[in-house]
């Protein structure tokens, strides 16, 4: 036993993804055959405080990008029930490159539902909302079917499994807005408004949905909970690292031989992931990649051995984000890729705050001009200057994410941006511009 504890886990550790291989994995009958809803029984035999303590001990960190310890987040919910408590699941997966929650909800919706019931019980919530992005009706069907099945089987509704605990789950379709992945924008959207972020504090645990105590958690986070209840925190900690424990679904896309979903312990490196994914496509060398979506600063071949956990990615100058590993080979122009992402942020900026709204507009315009071959060297400084005015000065994290590809792209590939300006360098000195002092 001690030996097993110290030994390294296998390269792929299917926990969340294990049931996906079973035929009709989305049905209740399949789920029940594969230990489904056993964790719920156990959870309901304990107290909410015990469950919060368990999740804290497990070290489970939010899988939506920020990595906040889930148990700590849960513990912010008030112990009394003066107002209704709400649990809201963020299933608005839209961060470019990220494609883990959608397959999870399609393949194994009951693991999310079971996680919701346990989490709601732990936070004394009797109404849970699953906010799914609207562009995935197939997920919404599967979730609705799972809720129906769970209701019919007595896992949802009043007096669940004779515990006296009541819970209703409402599946809610969004309507196409990346910003709704930001938890307070999501709450505004769920209240039937434009999805624009709110000022924090108050944090949702104090005043969230309908100004009542609310916790917003990512799909993968909540789907991990039943496994933690069944396996215990020591088991969970056998995977990953001290501060980033557990397995994680790495979504590998782009120029690799076998893109797909690979669930591996946190701390796995890109070198190891590439091996699992069959290496670079057609052997064309790696140029750049993102550890966790387009909002996480780019990495290069220098970073093949960075442990992909929350600390490792941050120490190397990026972020773990959603572990959406987008891999690009030598044929891809960095300024072009950066321009495309910037156009995305420009489109998705909600318009609430000036640095992000105006900043993304100018950044996209300048990048388009550069990629068109009409840039000047000073454009690079202008880009960095604008980034400086957006980063940390925007209302929410969208602005911070928007500058990540630009600043990291210029940091590692400045020459490529400069090369776009060659034409301008050769041109006669530009005439003095009106308004230039």
């Amino acid at each position: 036993m001690t030996e097993a504890e110290t030994s390294r886990p296998d390269p792929v550790t299917p926990v969340l993804t294990k049931r996906w291989l079973s035929p009709n994995s989305w049905r209740l009958s399949t789920y029940e055959q594969l230990e489904g809803y056993t964790a719920l029984r156990k959870a309901l035999s304990g107290t909410p405080e015990q469950l919060v303590a368990l999740v804290k001990e497990s070290g489970l960190r939010g899988r939506g990008g920020a990595g906040f310890p889930a148990g700590v987040k849960w513990s912010f919910m008030p112990p009394n029930e003066d107002k209704p408590h709400y649990l809201v699941i963020n299933a608005d997966e839209g961060e470019p490159g990220t494609c883990k929650d959608i397959p999870l909800m399609m393949a194994d919706p009951h693991s999310l539902i079971e996680g919701c019931i346990i989490a709601a019980y732990a936070m004394r919530s009797h109404h849970c909302f699953i906010y799914v992005r609207g562009e995935v009706p197939h997920c919404i069907r599967r979730l609705n079917a799972a809720v129906r099945e769970a209701e019919a089987a007595g896992y949802l509704g009043t007096n669940i499994l004779d515990s006296g605990f009541d819970l209703k789950i409402t599946v809610h379709a969004g309507a196409g807005a990346y910003i709704c992945g930001e938890e307070t924008a999501l709450l505004d959207s769920l209240e039937g408004r434009r999805g624009q972020p709110r000022l924090k504090p108050p944090f949702p645990a104090a005043a969230g949905l309908y100004a009542a105590p609310t916790t917003v958690n990512n799909v993968e986070t909540i789907a991990s909970v039943p496994f933690i209840v069944n396996g215990g925190s020591d088991w969970f900690r056998k995977m990953g690292s001290e501060r980033s424990p557990g397995p994680k679904i790495f979504s590998i896309s782009g120029h690799v031989e076998r893109p797909g979903q690979y669930e591996a312990p946190l701390g796995t490196t890109l070198r190891e992931l590439l091996e699992l994914a069959g290496g670079m496509k057609d052997g064309i060398p790696l140029k750049f990649w993102t550890p966790g979506g387009s909002s996480t600063p780019l990495f290069t071949a220098e970073h093949l051995d960075v442990p992909l956990d929350f600390e490792g990615a941050a120490e190397a100058g990026s972020m773990l984000g959603t572990t959406a590993v987008m891999v690009f080979n030598e044929t891809v122009s960095v300024p072009w890729a950066v321009m495309k992402w910037t156009e995305f942020y420009e489109h998705e900026s909600c318009g609430k705050c000036t640095p992000c709204r105006e900043g993304t507009y100018w950044l996209a315009g300048i990048l388009q001009r550069m990629v068109d071959g009409r840039g000047t060297e000073s454009d690079i400084e202008t880009l960095l200057d604008i980034c400086d005015n957006v980063l940390g000065r925007s209302f929410c994290a969208l602005g911070d994410g928007a500058v990540s590809p630009i600043t990291s792209g210029i940091k590692y590939f400045r020459d490529e941006f400069l090369a776009l300006c060659d034409k301008n360098k050769a041109a006669p000195a530009t005439p003095a511009l009106a308004g230039a002092h």
Partner: protein, 301 residues
């Protein structure tokens, strides 16, 4: 702010309006006394101005008692009725194929909101279309990852293919008569959360994975002929309106149809790759203890 000055050859500011600010658009309003011809004085097109200044009383008769009943059902799902607004906009879109002025007013009346409040929401979200759409909505992912793998080429090819008289079809424009069988609205979309299967496109939000320009052309041709090729992942193809009804939270009542929708395929090879690799190699997560460990002790408060 010299660094914001534009190079002489290309003004960055072309009067494009963005996020509420009109950069370089010049004068955007004229004070209108009773004798001012607002249409002639308008900075925007005469057609659009005409629409904005003409008072209309939309005809709500398309929203019959069944739609009213559905709206009531939606409101009952939430502790506060306004939460039903997004689903309700999906509902009106399922009736008309887009969110019309009548649709806005319908939602406003049901929820006790003003038209302006509903409009503000409807215009914020990409999925609510402000013009009548085709029977099918084709959305091509052109975010960076898909674009690199061919998404941009697919989109351009479809624009050409669906365009008329050598004019490429524009974003959110429709080939054919909106609402008629075989009509197609085309759009470019942001990341559709299927990057491992890129380049992807969706028809009525059902996934068609690993596309090429050729396969995409074949697909839209089939749609124009009235065929409904099965998606790679999703329910059997229906129409944009049918899917909008599901997004509104209403699923087929007939059990067999409902089951066939829910059971539509989802497990792509890519989705299962990690789990399959582990199964093939005999890799597993560490085994859980035989008996689930006790929950931690906590002090009683």
């Amino acid at each position: 702010m010299t660094e914001f000055n534009q190079p002489p050859n290309e003004p960055l500011t072309t009067g494009k309006s963005y996020g509420g600010s009109n950069i370089g658009a010049g004068e955007t309003h004229v004070e209108a006394g009773p004798d001012v011809d607002v249409v002639a004085a308008s900075a925007i097109s005469a057609e659009e101005t005409e629409r904005l200044v003409t008072e209309t009383t939309p005809d709500l008769s398309v929203f019959g008692p069944d739609v009213v009943a559905k709206a009531a059902e939606q409101m009952a799902r939430y502790p506060e009725s306004r939460s039903a607004l997004l689903p309700m906009l999906h509902l009106v879109q399922s009736v008309e194929g887009y969110v019309s002025q009548a649709g806005i007013q319908f939602c406003a009346e049901q929820l006790g909101l003003s038209n302006a409040e509903v409009s503000a929401v409807a215009t914020f979200y990409t999925m609510y279309k402000r013009k009548p759409c085709g029977e099918h909505l084709v959305s091509v992912c052109t975010n960076t990852l898909c674009a690199v793998l061919g998404g941009d080429a697919i989109y351009q090819r479809l624009q050409q293919h669906l365009g008329e008289g050598g004019q490429p079809l524009k974003h959110e424009d429709t080939s054919g008569t909106p609402g008629e069988p075989g009509s197609i609205t085309l759009e470019h979309a942001e990341c559709l959360a299927a990057c491992d299967l890129g380049p992807v496109l969706q028809v009525n939000y059902e996934y068609y994975d690993n596309q090429t320009p050729e396969s995409a052309v074949e697909l839209v041709d089939a749609l124009r002929r009235g065929e409904k090729p099965a998606p790679t992942r999703g329910a059997p193809l229906t129409s944009l309106r049918d899917v909008e009804l599901q997004l509104a939270g209403f699923f087929p009542e007939d059990e067999a149809t409902y089951r066939s929708h829910v059971d539509g395929p989802s497990a792509a090879v890519e989705t299962l790759r990690g789990a399959q690799l582990a199964a093939d190699r005999g890799w597993t997560a560490p085994t859980m203890p035989e008996k689930a460990p006790e929950l931690p002790e906590v002090e009683k408060k």
